[in-house]
Amino acid sequence: MLVKVFVTPRKGILDPQGRAVEQSLKSLGFGGVGAVRVGRYIVLELDVPNIDQAREAIRRMCDQLLTNPNIEDYTFEIEPGEGGPR
C-alpha cells in the first residue's frame, strides 16, 4: 500500500511560516486568501496484511515519530498496492 500522511501545525499554535506564506499570497494579489498553515507531507510504502492493521500502524507511527501531537495534527490516506514502481 501507499500511505500519504499530511501533517499540519495545530490551529492555535503560532505558525510563522504559514503567516509568511499568507502575506506573500496576498501581496501577489490573490484575493480571498485566509489563514494558511504550512505542514509536511510524508509518503511511505507499507506492506502489512490488511487495511485495519495498516491504519493502526500508521497511527502509532504518527504518534511516536512522524508528528509531535503537542503541536501538530495529521490525517492520512491509504492507497491499495499496485504492481510495479510508482
Binding site: 499554535i13 510563522p16 515519530l65 509531535n68 503537542n70
Partner: protein, 223 residues
C-alpha cells in the same frame, strides 16, 4: 563528579560543553556516543546544542530514539541529573522528559544574540547556584526556539514553578510567556534554549554567568 555529554550525528556544541565542564570547571567529563546503550559511570548528563540528525523531520525527533536515549530516559526517571541545551532541550521535549515543544522562531529568523535572562526557579539541582530573580547574560543561538504548550500545560508550569528561565528583555522568538527554560516536577531535568556553555569566560563570551548551571550541580554533590 563524572559528566557525560551526548554526541549525536550533527551535535555542534558538545565540544564547548566538554570544555566548560572539563577545562573551566575542572570536572571529569567525556563524550557519550549516540550508539552506546550504557551511560557507564556517568553521574550527570548533558544533551548539547546543534543540529542532531540535521533537524530532519523535527528538531530532536530522531535523536530522541537514539540508542543512548533509552539509558538517558531511564536515568532521568530515576532522578538522574540531565541538562538539555538548545537542541538538547528540543530532544528532552520530544522524549517527553519535559512538557511542551519548541517551534520555529516567530519572525522566522535564526537568532544569534547575547540576551539577558531571569532565573525564575533557583531551586533545581541545575540552578541552586543562582538566586531567584538573578539576571544573567547568556547567548541564544537558534532558529526553532519558540516554546509552545497548550494553555493547561502552561498554567501548570507557572503554578508549579517549573519555569526555570525567562527572557528578561522582551521576547526574542515568540516563546509562550517568554519562557527560555523549564524543568520537570522533580527538578532533576532542566531544558533551556540559551547556551550556558558559551558564557563561561568573559574573554570568549558575554559573561561567565553560564557557569552557575554547572556549579550548582558540583556544589550540590559537595554539600
Amino acid at each position: 563528579m563524572k559528566w557525560g555529554v551526548v554526541r549525536f550525528p550533527g551535535s555542534l556544541d558538545d565540544a564547548d560543553a566538554l570544555w566548560a565542564l572539563g577545562q573551566v570547571m575542572g570536572q571529569e567529563a567525556r563524550a557519550l556516543w549516540h550508539k552506546d546503550e550504557d551511560l557507564g559511570d556517568v553521574q550527570c548528563v548533558v544533551l548539547p546544542g546543534g543540529f542532531s540528525y540535521g533537524d530532519y523531520l523535527r528538531c530532536g525527533a530522531i535523536a530522541r530514539f537514539a540508542p543512548i536515549m533509552k539509558s538517558v530516559v531511564r536515568f532521568a526517571n530515576h532522578g538522574g541529573l540531565v541538562l538539555g541545551i538548545c537542541n538538547g532541550f528540543q530532544i528532552l521535549c520530544e522524549a517527553h522528559l519535559l512538557p511542551g515543544a519548541l517551534t520555529r522562531n516567530a519572525d522566522l529568523k535564526f537568532i544569534t544574540r547575547d540576551l539577558r535572562l531571569r532565573v525564575e526557579n533557583a531551586r533545581t539541582a541545575w540552578t541552586r547556584a543562582y538566586s531567584g530573580g538573578d539576571q544573567i547574560v547568556v547567548p541564544l543561538k537558534s532558529g526553532e526556539g519558540a516554546y509552545a504548550a497548550d494553555p493547561g500545560t502552561l498554567a501548570g508550569l507557572e503554578a508549579s514553578g517549573l519555569v526555570v528561565l525567562r527572557y528578561a528583555d522582551g521576547n526574542p522568538n515568540g516563546s509562550a510567556a517568554a519562557i527560555a527554560g523549564v524543568c520537570n516536577a522533580a527538578g532533576n531535568v532542566v531544558g533551556l534554549m540559551p547556551h550556558p556553555e558559551h558564557a563561561v569566560d568573559s574573554l570568549t563570551g558575554p559573561s561567565a554567568d553560564g557557569l552557575g548551571f554547572f556549579a550548582s550541580v558540583v556544589a550540590g554533590v559537595a554539600a
